[in-house]
Symmetry: C2
């Protein structure tokens, strides 16, 4: 089929009529499918059921250092968990704090602490006239929600396949002392699945922010989440690079096992420099006596070591790789020649990012919803939920089953065609009027 943009008004009208018929057919199927969030599927969750067996009433719940995991203590986590998550995050165990069940919670608490108590003795952000955050776009809605909730002004920075626009970032942070942070998902980014290039990471580590309390919020959510054995993205480790660049305190790095074991019942961690670590501990000791050590021990004993975790992640990959592939194939088959949309083809992570013709995303998502397929809200990938082009849509292929996903992407493609054809026809009409 030829591109919609090259079709005559009549051709497009005929196409639209056929699409509407097809859409009615989909509506008659009464689908109830959810592609809105990056949730593991039941098959993936089943991979970790054996973790429920590693501790039982006969287990010795004592750590290597003699700590009884059943009692109070260990503010920064048990040593074994710091070693395992250190290997996972490619950081020194001493630079790691193990937290509770969610890295989102750690990120929220980190921003909150900056607001109430500042960074390494700086003025608390709540006492400042203005706090600004840089937000690579498209990005992760829950990141933006945190900074919006705290009243930070969010400045979008365009993403590219090698990471955010570094020239823009370098200029902004150097000029504007009110810029206090930037949200990054450096590997298999949310939603595009891009990984930051070596040059990008090097330039991040060499930022010269006007604000001494500027921090990079480095959410390495998908560090382990490759789709392929042989074709993987590697990232320069940011803390080490910052240290080499003479900027050791620039980064807060976050990760969790949410999409490794059970979302909401995993363990989360923060890695940062010794200075930042001491700063955080001054706060943390008032917030808790320690996080859930039994669950830390459960994770350590389940995986054994980082190799065990890597092997476990291959099983996840085996389940979700076909899902990414079916989405990409279906989009290619249905939209490939039409020039009404483009999408990313990540090597890992949880999302595919789709860009429609400008001004179509909201309508596409609404159409999909009316036929029973829930997508991430259009605009969600931008600060304040406002995509100025109304074109970006995040596709989350992991949760539905393969048959469900196939139907959902077929419907999605149909909605893209339908809305795009309508748009182009309306433009033709407007031109002729």
């Amino acid at each position: 089929m030829k591109p919609y943009t090259e079709m005559s008004r009549e051709e497009l009208s005929n196409e639209l009529a056929a699409l509407k018929k097809e859409y009615k057919h989909f509506q008659s199927l009464e689908l109830h499918l959810d592609m809105s969030r990056g949730k593991p599927s039941q098959d993936q969750l089943n991979l970790s059921m054996a973790m429920m067996d590693v501790l039982d009433s006969n287990s010795d719940l004592t750590c290597e250092d003699g700590t009884d995991c059943r009692n109070y203590g260990q503010l920064t986590g048990i040593d074994e968990a710091r070693v395992l998550l250190g290997d996972m995050m490619e950081n020194n165990p001493n630079d790691i704090i193990i937290y509770g069940n969610s890295s989102l919670n750690v990120m929220y608490d980190t921003v909150s602490r900056c607001y109430t108590h500042g960074v390494l003795g700086s003025t608390p952000w709540c006492k400042l006239e203005k706090v600004r955050f840089l937000c690579p776009v498209p990005g992760y809605d829950r990141h933006f929600a945190i900074t919006e909730y705290f009243g930070a002004e969010m400045i979008p920075v365009p993403m590219t396949p090698t990471g955010p626009d570094m020239s823009m970032i370098e200029k902004l942070v150097q000029e504007d002392e009110s810029i206090k942070g930037i949200w990054c998902v450096p590997k298999y980014s949310n939603p595009q699945g891009y990984s930051y290039s070596d040059e990008t990471v090097r330039r991040f580590a060499r930022l010269k922010p006007a604000a001494k309390d500027f921090r990079i919020f480095w959410d390495n959510a998908y560090g382990m989440h490759h789709l392929y054995d042989d074709h993987q993205d590697y990232l320069i480790e940011i803390l080490a690079e910052c240290k080499r660049a003479g900027n050791p305190d620039l980064v807060y790095k976050f990760a969790s096992t949410s999409k490794i074991t059970f979302p909401g019942s995993g363990i989360a961690a923060l890695a940062t420099s010794p200075n930042n670590m001491e700063d955080i501990k001054r706060q943390l000791r008032h917030q808790t006596i320690g996080h859930d050590k039994v669950n830390q021990l459960r994770h350590v004993r389940f995986f054994g070591d980082i190799h065990g975790m890597v092997e476990h992640m291959r099983k996840h990959a085996d389940i979700i790789r076909p899902k990414f592939e079916i989405v990409e194939e279906t989009l290619e088959k249905n939209l490939g020649e039409l020039k009404i949309g483009s999408w990313t083809k990540p090597l890992g992570g949880y999302f595919i990012s789709f860009d429609s013709l400008p001004g179509c995303a909201k309508a596409i998502v609404a159409r999909a919803k009316k036929a029973g397929v829930i997508m991430t809200a259009a605009g969600a990938t931008w600060p304040y939920g406002k995509d100025p082009n109304d074109s970006n849509i995040r596709i989350a292929p992991t949760y539905p089953s393969m048959p469900e996903l196939t139907s959902a992407v077929q419907l999605f493609s149909l909605c893209v065609r339908l809305v795009s054809a309508e748009k182009l026809l309306n433009e033709m009409k407007a031109e002729q009027a």
Copy 2:
């Protein structure tokens, strides 16, 4: 033996010499005992080991409402856990949010939220010139540490066996709009083990604070922690009483299973009015997608229902009751007639509160430490760690074994006698000089 205060200088000198000899003997034993914190003993932890068996790889981790506990979701906790902790806290499950592993964390987060975002639309506390908190004394050091960390000015309010001085509280909150909160441990208080009388609770519910954003931080940490089957304290349920008094939004109520199952691996909860609940949820949804539901389910299936929890608490009581009794007996035997100290005799909770002669507490704790017994730091029960009388010492009898505890309390009694005798002798010398 006659009271020290009635001894002659010679009698006291002889006594002191004998005590010093005895102290040396204790030093030669090279004790390493810890009575500093309210930690369950290993025997108590063993009571919950069967909880490690209730979930295994064959378990269905689905809630009654169909929620898969292994995946994201359920911001306020699973229904079953809200029912169980509702029964535990004597609140409607709908008024309960289940949190993570620690009520301290919930209290910290609650204070933090008030600082960054205010209460039901009030000015965030961080924007105010002055925030004051009322602190019944002696009280819980970790409460005071939170408000100190946020820069609140803490005003001590004397405790009595029926609760804090309500006349003082009523007057202060009515007069001073900068008073935003009060820390309460209403049942088996930390450290005295006092429970608030009906009148105290009634008056709390009828406070008329000048500040609309004043809240009672009601830490019901020991609601289930009775020592005796037949002799227990009952408390008027504060949320219900506030509702009856037309003050429904006055209270944040906290509890956890830390001293029921495993400290640090239990579940915590907050109970409050529907208005406060909505206010909190507006924040909570930015902080987390949900707390650890697998652990919530584990707790629910372990206890079955509130009766199961009550039976479980009887086993705790059987272990710790003899410890409270040996402390009380030993103190009575060694100090009963000497008029150099008094102590509480709680029916529940985790602590016994000891009051020495004024100006002796720090010295007593230091002496005990030099002979190998760690007590809670003197002063810790007061805001800023400053006990103006230097007399209050918190005794935490649960963690040591019975033989250890016996040695520790004997040594403690000896230190009380030694420091008191020294003090009285010094006073005599000063008078004669």
